[in-house]
Symmetry: C2
Subunit: 354 residues, 2 copies
């Protein structure tokens, strides 16, 4: 009888200890709000890829459900929803939030800025992550690179741009900061919802537009109605971003924090590789179906003027906030250092090894 009782107590103790260890096995369920519509190519693949890695690496202990804009109806409300904790995380582009905080603008891409490999080097080894952390901590969020589109094309134009004069009065869909730079040169930038772009271009409501590049442009069909496809200057490497609510992140066990971080990182890099792949594939399709697409680069005087306007506007930002100045200076200094390398490596190779 006494033995049985001792055994009982021992067993009970062991069971409690074991079950307490098992507590880590309970399932964490998160929701992610993305700015994109359901099944949006490349961008939408990134969140699916990330959620799948998290689920498999955690053996089903961490499930992230992705809500597209079709579900949450607030494509540009993702920032506020993650900040408030309504969603534990989001996937969007940091420069969409420049109206809320100008410092978010610098973590997507900048005109005449870094290309993707340079940008990843800056984020992970050149101080970029630390600066992004500072900016988003002010909003109780963490922010991580969320996938690169690669170099974006300058856009589809109905008429050739032969000089600065051709930009005067040009009605172009080009949102954000790049639009402001173009406006300095006399263009009339506008923003038009994606669904109305084709018709606007066809009916000459606009003379030109920029979207992304072949990876996403093909399905939009712009190449059928605007033959001049200009090379890029304004978004040399647009990096999307993951936002994570700070409190939600802190409540995760350490291993799930690490699983989340590595899955975000790997899926972001994957998106860059996928963007390169889709761009090559779709450019080949476009060129085959529409051999009349004319790939052009803006003449030198236009490029020089764009760069000058860009530097003027950036110079104005620098005066507004010490953190803005810190970010701009970090990027400027880093670009100078890393570009010297790009010039003698990939650029020299691409130019010489034809």
């Amino acid at each position: 009888m006494k033995t049985t009782k001792i055994l009982l107590i021992t067993l009970l103790g062991t069971l409690l200890a074991t079950q307490s260890a098992m507590a880590a096995k309970k399932v964490v369920r998160w929701k992610l709000a993305e700015t994109w519509p359901t099944n949006f190519p490349v961008f939408g693949d990134t969140t699916k890829n990330m959620a799948k890695m998290v689920k498999e690496m955690s053996d089903g202990r961490f499930i992230i459900q992705v809500h597209s804009r079709n579900k949450h109806k607030a494509p540009l409300g993702v920032f506020d929803m993650v900040k408030a904790g309504q969603y534990q995380m989001g996937h969007s582009a940091a420069y969409y939030w420049k109206g809320k905080d100008i410092n978010t603008m610098f973590f997507t891409t900048m005109p005449f800025g870094m290309i993707a490999p340079e940008s990843y080097a800056w984020f992970y080894y050149g101080g970029g992550m630390e600066l992004m952390e500072k900016v988003f901590a002010r909003h109780n969020m963490l922010s991580f690179p969320g996938g690169n589109t690669g170099n974006q094309m300058g856009g589809w134009f109905k008429k050739e741009i032969n000089s600065l004069a051709d930009l005067k009065g040009l009605k172009m869909r080009i949102p954000g900061f790049a639009g402001e730079v173009l406006a300095e040169l006399g263009a009339k930038p506008t923003n038009i919802p994606a669904g109305e772009l084709y018709t606007a271009l066809e009916r000459n409501t606009i003379d030109a537009l920029e979207w992304v590049g072949p990876s996403l442009d093909l399905r939009m069909g712009f190449h059928k109605i605007a033959p001049f496809y200009y090379t890029g200057w304004h978004e040399p490497a647009a990096e999307l971003h993951f936002m994570v609510n700070q409190r939600a992140y802190k409540r995760l066990p350490k291993d799930l924090q690490e699983i989340l971080k590595v899955a975000m990182k790997a899926s972001a890099y994957d998106m860059y590789a996928k963007s390169v792949h889709e761009s090559g594939k779709n450019l080949a399709t476009m060129s085959k179906e529409y051999p009349n697409i004319k790939i052009k680069t803006f003449p030198e005087d236009v490029m020089v003027a764009l760069r000058k306007a860009n530097e003027k506007l950036i110079g104005e930002f620098e005066k507004k906030d010490p953190l803005t100045k810190e970010i701009i200076e970090s990027q400027r200094k880093y670009l100078k250092q890393v570009r010297a390398w790009t010039e003698i490596s990939d650029q020299a190779y691409l130019n010489s090894a034809k």
Copy 2:
């Protein structure tokens, strides 16, 4: 008394069930053999980074111990040790194994081949991984991208190369396939151990050598004794690789398999970003300390002859094995498609947005 017994049995049953679920919590211990010496920069950071991610994501259930060449004494025995299961995994460069299997040679980099973003696109979205899998399955191994050096420099030369004639009889340390290409042009390629390279160059035992690029060249000091630093043609994006013993991999629980795969992928991409960063940083240091470094590109006739020799040698491989042909054709076709995109994106941007 009866109640106590029933309770006892119930408790025992629950405990056994709980502990069986806990069995997944046992620690898996692996050893990785890397070709590099202890604390080798960039390359060695990759294995440490991977092992750390695996440990943290698995909450300590999967520990990978890294053995450098200083420990296992067989830098070029990594392939055999992983194949035999002596090590569960390895980190090296696939083209080191061309003597064992010619098809391994194509998964590092090829002269006049893809740059890093193109290469990652080919691996993950263009069929490269599937081909690498086929090659390594013949050796009971899995193989994964293991980190990119970025574009490697053409090397340090004591004299300027002004024409094809300057290559005749040139004694150059340049191992592997690139050495064979140079030999076609009359150069005398040799291989010399890393520790003897500086002295060999200083004493004119060799006239030139290639190593990696600023990321690893700085510490070697070649810039102090050979002023001409040539841009690259022969290794536009050297991707290291992880090898995993197939049986060891199959024995892993599903979640640890996924953790390993994602950690290898993220650490490989990370190495590419780090290579870009270190190259920029070290190039700046070199240029400051030794302003006399002359960055040069081979004249056009040399580049054309190198390309021709390269194509001739690759053509010979194609005839040897249907799988070799399949790999070469996949790369050739993919490069053509993706390069058309690189030309109108990063290359056009770098050339126009100065």
